[in-house]
Amino acid sequence: MAVCVAVIAKENYPLYIRSIPTENELKFHYMVHTSLDVVDEKISAMGKALVDQRELYLGLLYPTEDYKVYGYVTNSKVKFVMVVDSSNTALRDNEIRSMFRKLHNSYTDVMCNPFYNPGDRIQSRAFDSMVTSMMVQVC
């Protein structure tokens, strides 16, 4: 359902980015990059005092005519950004949330691997397969 999935580190460089129509990858990279601003805006809007109650799921960051961009941030400021096709109207908020949850779980599994240095690109096959399962769809 997702067209592009990206994991951004705390310092705003990508740990993992993958998109389905591989020919237009650059466009998705650009979208994800610009969405980081919106993510930061949402995080800062919450205020420091509310960090505990801050929702991890940020919701719709911004819609374009073709795509919608959703965001999710963890407590360690690792951001997950997902771009979905606008034509896929059946995709509800809950589903997006569950997708982010799965992402988060897989990310934690990657972290658990002692051979993974935080800040490296994510090369875990399990993570890859999980993302593929989220992205593979009718198209």
Binding site: N75, H104, N105, T108, C112, N113, Y116, S124, R125
Partner: protein, 681 residues
Amino acid sequence: MEAAAGGGCGSGQPLLLSEGEQQCYSELFARCAGAAGGGPGSGPPEAARAVPGAVSAAAGPVADLFRASQLPAETLHQITELCGAKRVGYFGPTQFYIALKLIAAAQSGLPVRIESIKCELPLPRFMMSKTDAEIRFGNPAELHGTKVQIPYLITEKNTFKRMDDEDKQQETQSPTMSPLASPPSSPPHYQRVPLSHGYSKLRSSTEQMHPAPYEARQPLVQPEGPSSGAPGAKPPRHQASLIRSFSVEREPHDNNSNYPDEPWRITEEQREYYVNQFRSLQPDPSSFISGSVAKNFFTKSKLSIPELSYIWELSDADCDGALTLPEFCAAFHLIVARKNGYPLPEGLPPTLQPEYLQAAFPKPKRECSLFDSYSESMPANQQPRELNRMEKLSIKDMADFPVPAQDVTSDDKQEQNKTRLEQNKTRLALKSTADEALPKDMSEDPATSKDSNSLKARPRSRSYSSTSIEEAMKRGEDPPTPPPRPQKTHSRASSLDLNKVFQPSVPATKSGLLPPPPALPPRPCPSQISKPRHRELQEFPQGHPQQSEQASEAEIHPQLNRAPSQAADSSPTKKDIPYSQPPSKPIRRKFRPENPATENQEPSSTVGGPASAATGKPHTAVQKQSSKQKKAIQTAIRKNKEANAVLARLNSELQQQLKEVHQERIALENQLEQLRPVTVL
């Protein structure tokens, strides 16, 4: 078709390679260098660890390759010396090509001399999978095949995809020319399976390969005629030769088990070895190894970090960042298999699953040749004793394998170790299943309780300890309420400490008692009352479930007996006896988290009913004990907090120092760069 295209003039003499040889050698070189994680001249940073120079093949894969040539060790040593690798210290292209030529010479029976490579030689033969030089053996017409093979191989390098397997499968069915034109040493090829660079598609579920090779073997065992140059036939030939070798090997061992995933089955001696290694890292076989310890240990195996990372992913089934004994055995086994050239599976094979390993601990199955080259392929190992132990593994069924005399020595060592290990085996088998759950809970508790609570997405073992305690507390609130309330007479106002401590919370609890309970359902009220308490006391279990658990085991039961009874009558009579009731509830709450076994509370609550009649005096003693415990817990908490603060401060100071050191380093590097141009002139 001799082309004077030299592979390099390192030794001063032009190396004459035919076109076929050139392609073969360059491809082998690329594989040797590439297999180490970095291509010749380029590659990811991991290459730097394995490859000493930019354009050179790493010693490990090269050594494997040479061993695959089936030459005796002395010959290989001679060859490495002659080719100049020893002199320069690494295998550059020149050295590599010379070495390959020498191997070809040796395999043809010529003496190992520089002169012998001047003449035209057949290609060296390596008992490996796809790149079998035997296929490209001396026939120029096969050159086309090599081109096909190279891209095929390169794709295989990076993708262990089953699809390739199946394609090749079908191709092998088509009769192809036999690649074995080299008569003298062909028989050993069938038997030896040292697959150096992991291009054998032996994965757990590729047992379909077995019936296919049996068929393919027939057409393959034909003398090679002039290959009609069907390039498509070349790749299957590799596969076929590979499959053939495997199938021959497999036959004697299939008798034992009809399991298709032979390479993933752990034999007896392997298991003992793994268990020993586990114990060297972690004395308690029923506990587990932390991630960092395991990382250091597995890094010694000289596999690349991505591969180790993948192996970890496969073997750490519960993703907790630590390895129990079966997980460790699985990981070790995968590493061993990888070093012997088996590609890593897509998923954990069934014989390596932790449950399977635990259940079938003593396994009589013999693994074939996984380790004959393993012992040799652990070069600069930092722990020489590991080498000794490795040698011990390269035994059994090696009769027809041209393995050097390590077999003999390894047998001796094995006998010594076996008796020792057999005693441990049974103990491990019994303990591992039972104890695995417990230590995990205990140790995971403090670090991960908060995290797991926040995630909440799926049940993980790490959250067991904290959530179970909290659930126990919550559950415990309801059950103890039932006891009837003829215990109004017990007034526990005597304990001043408790009164003082719980005074601030008394108004809260009082207000919490919403419905004025005339005499009735004690059940809802205590749950409401207990909620304010619950939050306060949450700290206790998370901080000290273990200590208090053991310490207060003995006291819990009598106290719980009394506590529920007190709670019962406290609820209806709350307003009547303001100060006496609140103390009772904290006692109950406090001990409940300390005792995660909730079943204690229910029987105790029922017992508490009849026993509550005679609990006048012990109350004070109980309360004093509980207050002491409470104080002990509070002091412990305070101490922990102080320690935390100290460590946090230390951490920030160290971070500061690190930054300063970084800046110094940058400054020094700048200075160095400024100085450098001066020295060049």
